[in-house]
């Protein structure tokens, strides 16, 4: 596994040599999207709590960072790196507040509240328009990363760091507790694990990275807008994670990149070439349904099993 990861990393680092700039741009965004997806997996795949409002934190991180970098609106002009971290911290603070209140209750309450949250925050963007820019959003000045190359490596770096941190958490005792809660909350409780505390912990971490990702997007495309709170983004995250395999981090990572590239790159062309009367969203949702029924553990487990079966054959 480590070899594979190292190999992929080398591949990623070498991409600028072979990929034209436009595709590099998309790939960089795909890395940021991957951070959103693996942080979602951290919550849903490991503690089993279905967070339907992950984009709340993406949007929060994005707007907080954007505001802090735009003196016209907030009187502040923070260095982008600081703003990004501020975005993540704000997102996790909100995650803490919400988590404390809702994670005490049955699962679907959490899902419901989180489902509605992004809509509430989106409304705040429209209502307090002078500050948040309303539907159109606003432009952000960033003089630190201006070339596609710099942006690409920065997002790759952030992805790497996030992945490593989350991996470490998941492989630790804390991670074990998360999984215990996922597998049987009642059993975990009876073993003396304070399930609410661990659920909230996972939520804080999950929302922190989501906030970071949101802030990264803003520094990537220099504008912020309410689509970062939106339902389509949330669905894409869910799709990628489930496809990749919940509870594995690596699965959702690959799922995220594949799906993001598919959606923004070649799936559209493929469909247009054949003039199907469908659009790429239909294809993706159909795939999600198929995977959900036939291979609910996602591709990661499927591939792992396949690899194992091949190597055991050799014996």
């Amino acid at each position: 596994m480590r070899f594979l990861m190292a190999g992929l990393l080398v591949l990623a680092a070498g991409m600028p040599l072979v990929l034209p700039e436009a595709y590099l741009y998309i790939l960089g965004l795909a890395y940021i999207f991957a951070v959103m997806v693996i942080s979602w997996d951290l919550m849903v795949g490991y503690t089993g709590q279905v967070n339907l409002g992950h984009t709340t934190f993406v949007g929060l991180g994005a707007y907080v960072a954007a505001l802090m970098q735009t003196p016209l609106r907030s009187g502040m002009a923070l260095h982008p790196a600081l703003a990004i971290i501020a975005g993540g911290v704000t997102a996790s603070a909100v995650g803490l507040a919400i988590g404390i209140i809702t994670l005490r209750l049955r699962g679907y309450y959490f899902s419901l509240v989180t489902a509605i949250l992004p809509l509430v925050f989106m409304q705040t963007v429209f209502i307090w328009r002078e500050l948040f820019g309303g539907e159109e959003g606003f432009t952000v000045e960033n003089t630190i990363f201006t070339t596609t190359l710099e942006k690409y490596y920065f997002s790759l770096l952030v992805l790497l760091v996030s992945l490593i941190i989350m991996r470490k958490i998941v492989d630790s005792r804390i991670g074990l507790r998360f999984m215990a809660i996922r597998d049987s909350e009642e059993l975990a409780e009876s073993l003396g694990i304070n399930t609410t505390r661990y659920k909230v912990m996972a939520f804080i971490l999950s929302s922190f990275f989501a906030g970071i990702a949101g802030a990264m997007v803003v520094n990537y495309r220099f504008t912020v807008s309410p689509d970062l709170y939106g339902v389509p983004l949330m669905l894409l995250i869910i799709l990628s994670a489930v496809l990749g395999g919940l509870g594995t981090l690596y699965g959702p990572l690959v799922g995220a990149i594949v799906i993001y590239l598919a959606k923004n790159w070649w799936l559209g062309d493929l469909i247009r070439t054949f003039s199907f009367p469908i659009n790429d969203e239909i294809v993706l949702y159909a795939i999600l349904i198929a995977v959900g029924i036939l291979m609910p553990e996602g591709f990661y487990h499927g591939v792992k099993r396949w690899v194992k079966s091949i190597s055991s054959e050799k014996k």
């Binding site: 070899f3 594979l4 190999g7 992929l8 591949l11 072979v18 990929l19 034209p20 700039e21 436009a22 595709y23 741009y25 998309i26 965004l29 409304q123 429209f126 209502i127 328009r129 820019g133 309303g134 539907e135 159109e136 959003g137 606003f138 432009t139 997007v217 495309r221 220099f222 504008t223 807008s225 309410p226 689509d227 389509p232 923004n264 070649w266 559209g268 247009r272 659009n279 690899v307 091949i310 190597s311 050799k314």
Partner: protein
């Protein structure tokens, strides 16, 4: 051995990826690439794609631009700024578009303008936010490649709305109080700002100014309130609410003694009457883009509408079609002008910007509409240029009722109004 398989997979992946994007460098120009970008899942985007393809077909049949064939490449913004910027970049850098046409939705436009500034691609655009023209004004060198072609700056809507009120009065319908219902969105602010003093001058009072969120549906309450406040006109200023049909339905059901007259993007839709089961009858609206299927302002427009129908089986599904079609011909015009002036590279955006700027008040381009630009590259407004025609739905058809130079119908009051 397991690792060998992994490495092999990685190598195959790399090969696949690079083969997908390897672009052999072409020496010298072989064709003209026209990019069209927009939300392809909705009529506004589809209309642009179809219109551009129609124009390209026509021009190619006549020998192309300077002898080069036009190839059309399409980008889908999916109404998302991220996707839009990626697509714009792809069209500009990978497809090597010489000009990009289209857009829609001011927020997405904002994002795309940044990419345009980077790639320095000529962008003949849609969308109505004054913000875009302001960018050109404030930072000319960066944003000069942008020209608004499809419709007027949103604040000119105020001029059209004020004219509409004046026209109603001149037709014998007294207007003293107006009840405004508008989108909760930045685009309506400059419209209202410009409209208020104009109405004040005419002695018209805005009794209430109601903002509604996207997807709002409880218009009955507002209509009843307007009745209580003795409004003469309920004036919608809507484009993104998406529920203009509910408004007109509830107005037609409640039958208040008030005219429904204003701006609603949805009312311009040729199928609006059918989709509302005929309840749209008598709604007065201003038609963005300066052209209506049932009332083309120029001969070329009439030809375009018929050619569109012949090729696609239906009339243009949104007013963006006219702008997109004009944009292609406009591009052809300036390239030919540049070539005949002896420019070294008649396709160079830096050069073409200057030629586009030549189309000003005294020298407009007569296409499906009469196009001219202000200094900030905004589309010129006026009876002889592009303005939103005052129109009305009457018994299943749209008629332009003002200004007289293009009108093909007369104002009809709903039967339940007593004035």
């Amino acid at each position: 051995m397991r690792y060998a398989k992994a490495v092999l997979t990685v190598i195959i992946l790399v090969a696949a990826v690079t083969s997908l994007c390897a672009q052999p460098e072409k020496a010298g120009r072989e064709k003209v690439v026209v990019g069209v970008i927009g939300p392809m899942a909705v009529p506004e985007g589809q209309a642009q794609e179809k219109a551009v393809k129609l124009a390209a077909e026509e021009i190619n049949a006549q020998g192309g631009i300077l002898g080069y064939r036009i190839t059309v490449v399409v980008g889908d913004t999916k109404l998302d700024p991220n996707t839009a910027t990626s697509e714009f970049r792809r069209l500009a850098r990978v497809e090597k578009a010489d000009v990009i046409i289209g857009g829609f939705s001011s927020g997405v436009m904002n994002a795309m303008m940044e990419t345009m500034a980077e790639t320095k691609t000529l962008f003949l655009a849609d969308a109505s936010s004054p913000e875009h023209a302001k960018k050109v004004e404030q930072n000319y060198e960066k944003y000069k490649y942008w020209f608004r072609v499809s419709q007027n700056n949103g604040s000119t809507f105020a001029l059209d709305l004020a004219d509409m009120v004046k026209f109603l009065r001149d037709s014998g319908y007294e207007v003293r109080k107006v009840y405004v219902i508008r989108d909760e969105h930045v685009w309506t602010d400059p419209v209202m700002q410009a409209l208020k003093p104009l109405l004040e001058e005419m002695g018209v009072e805005i009794v209430k100014d109601v903002k509604i969120p996207r997807g709002y549906s409880e218009y009955e309450q507002l209509i009843l309130e307007a009745e209580k406040l003795n409004a003469d006109v309920i004036m919608p200023v809507l484009a993104i609410s998406g529920t203009g049909d509910i408004l007109v339905k509830q107005w037609a059901t409640l039958k208040p003694n008030i005219l429904l007259a204003g701006h609603d993007l949805y009312a311009i839709d040729a199928e609006f009457y059918e989709k509302t089961n005929g309840m749209a009858n008598y709604e007065i609206f201003i038609a963005d883009g300066g052209a209506l299927v049932t009332a083309p302002p120029t001969e070329k427009c009439r030809e375009f509408v018929e050619a569109y129908r012949a090729k696609y089986g239906h009339y243009p599904e949104s007013h963006q079609a006219y702008g997109a079609y004009d944009a292609v011909y406009l591009y052809k015009m300036v390239v030919e002008m540049a070539a005949s002036n002896g420019e070294k590279d008649p396709f160079d955006p830096e050069v073409l910007v200057r030629y586009l700027e030549r189309f000003n008040a005294s020298n407009p381009a007569r296409l499906t509409r009469t196009i001219a630009f202000y200094d900030n590259h905004d589309l010129m407004w006026g009876d002889n240029y592009v303005r939103n025609w005052i129109s009305q739905w009457q018994d299943g058809k749209q008629y332009i009722i003002y200004p007289p130079s293009v009108a093909n119908g007369e104002l009809k009051l709903p039967p339940w109004i007593k004035k």
